[in-house]
């Protein structure tokens, strides 16, 4: 394939590695990017080289950062756990400039509770890498939190194939886990509001039937009453219904 500016696939191949590593500059870079606009094969070639470059960086040896690193990161983010707050109370003085950090504030226990529920699920999964085993027991851990709702994902055959966690507080939060017998590819998570409107909130990839996905700020009008998992071709793989009281 030859681009309007003259760069063909062979010429592109000569600079693909440099492009993938982010070291191609100037006109060559512009021409290479123009070529990529309409050449799927070369785009895939660069994707592979980019992944290889990331793998190369991933070989760099891990090193222990200086003592106190994690607390300095947390302070930079305006986030501190109670333990860190106690440990560093005496050190937090004028060193901290008021306008440079972005205080976020700790979230309510709701988010933590959702993730605690997710952790329960993880524990029940027995350490299955990349996926989540699911168990109805998770729903009991959330009964005292009205803003939190969990629902079991049921397949068309009414089999338990996953779980959905929704936190309808401030900020909103959702997490979906899937554990099907098989399946690879992209699936989409959709929420269903009380008026029946379906909102797509995100997608993720299943690997051998396993997958999980979360969004710290799902968007949707109204109160979700259900969720569903949809395949790339639009087939509804599974659906879930939230308890009305918990979802409100």
């Amino acid at each position: 394939m030859t681009d309007l500016n003259g760069m063909n696939c062979a010429q592109f191949a000569d600079v693909a590695a440099e492009l993938a590593l982010g070291v191609l500059t100037g006109r060559e870079r512009a021409e290479a990017l123009a070529h990529l606009d309409h050449c799927d094969a070369c785009r895939e070639h660069v994707r592979q080289l980019t992944a290889t470059g990331e793998g190369l960086v991933g070989l760099l040896p891990a090193k222990e950062p200086p003592p106190g690193f994690e607390s300095r990161v947390m302070e930079r983010l305006g986030l501190e756990t109670p333990a860190l707050r106690v440990a560093h109370h005496h050190r937090r003085t004028a060193r901290r400039s008021g306008g440079t950090t972005r205080p976020f504030g700790k979230m309510s226990s709701g988010t933590r509770r959702i993730l605690a529920a997710a952790a329960v699920v993880t524990a029940l999964a027995g350490g299955v890498a990349g996926g989540w085993g699911l168990n109805a027991a998770t729903s009991t851990s959330t009964s005292a939190q009205p803003a939190l709702s969990t629902a079991t994902l049921l397949s068309a055959g009414r089999e338990n194939v996953g779980e959905v966690f929704i936190y309808n507080g401030d900020p909103r939060w959702m997490y979906m886990t899937v554990d099907m017998d098989s399946g690879n590819g992209t699936v989409t998570c959709q929420l269903i509001s009380t008026d029946g409107r379906v909102t797509t909130v995100g997608s993720f990839r299943l690997a051998n039937g396993y997958g999980s996905w979360g969004s710290p700020s799902w968007v949707g009008d109204g109160t979700p009453v259900g969720a569903r998992l949809v395949s790339a071709n639009g087939t509804v793989l599974a659906s879930a219904s939230f308890p009305a009281a918990a979802a409100s």
Binding site: L59, V73, L79, R205, S212
Partner: protein, 190 residues
């Protein structure tokens, strides 16, 4: 959440970081701080600069947690790329050479013969490491200079005292061999 948070998947901790949950955020930092600092230190070769880069990396992860896409790679790879890009930016802002050529052998040794990493290596990483050791030294140096230190072919040519075309060829040939080892199932007919 304490030890519970530490058992959560990377994606969950990242989402918790993005949502501003302090417990999940610190679990995230603890899980990845050695990796992030290691990348920053390897590239900048200065502990103070490396800490600043590492802190920036976690801040970027916090700000952009919502755009992380698991389809494009692991959280670890995503975060490592953030740290690496930030470290490269620091190098490029310096007036001095990105790397002393005399330091390259030590770097290549570090990334090809690290017992801890070998012990936990995935197959693809182990394959990549092996392939790196099997590259001609000139190609390995060119790949390291471009891939680790973000040096352009022109900078490599000057540093190595070789023609620009030779530097570009070394980068290309070296990376193609590494790709064949890292992604053997994806390698086609080129």
């Amino acid at each position: 959440m304490g030890s519970t948070a530490e058992s959560l998947p990377d994606e969950t901790l990242l989402a918790g970081l993005g949502a501003g949950d302090a417990d999940l955020a610190i679990a995230f930092v603890r899980r990845f701080q050695r990796v992030v600092f290691g990348v920053a230190l390897a590239v900048t070769r200065d502990p103070i600069t490396a800490e600043d880069v590492a802190q920036q990396a976690f801040e970027q992860a916090w700000r952009h947690a919502q755009v992380y896409d698991s389809r494009r790679g692991t959280v670890r790879a995503w975060l490592t790329t953030i740290a690496h890009n930030l470290a490269i930016d620091v190098l490029r802002a310096r007036t001095s050479a990105p790397v002393d050529p005399a330091e390259l052998p030590a770097l290549l040794t570090a990334i090809t013969d690290t017992p801890e990493r070998l012990a936990v290596a995935r197959d693809s990483a182990a394959g990549l490491r092996r392939a790196l050791t099997q590259l001609p030294a000139t190609q390995a140096r060119a790949v390291a200079m471009a891939g680790i230190y973000g040096m352009t072919a022109r900078q490599i040519a000057v540093t190595e005292g070789i023609p620009l075309g030779t530097a570009k060829t070394r980068i290309r040939d070296g990376m193609l061999k590494l790709r064949a080892a890292f992604l053997p199932e994806d390698v086609g007919d080129d």
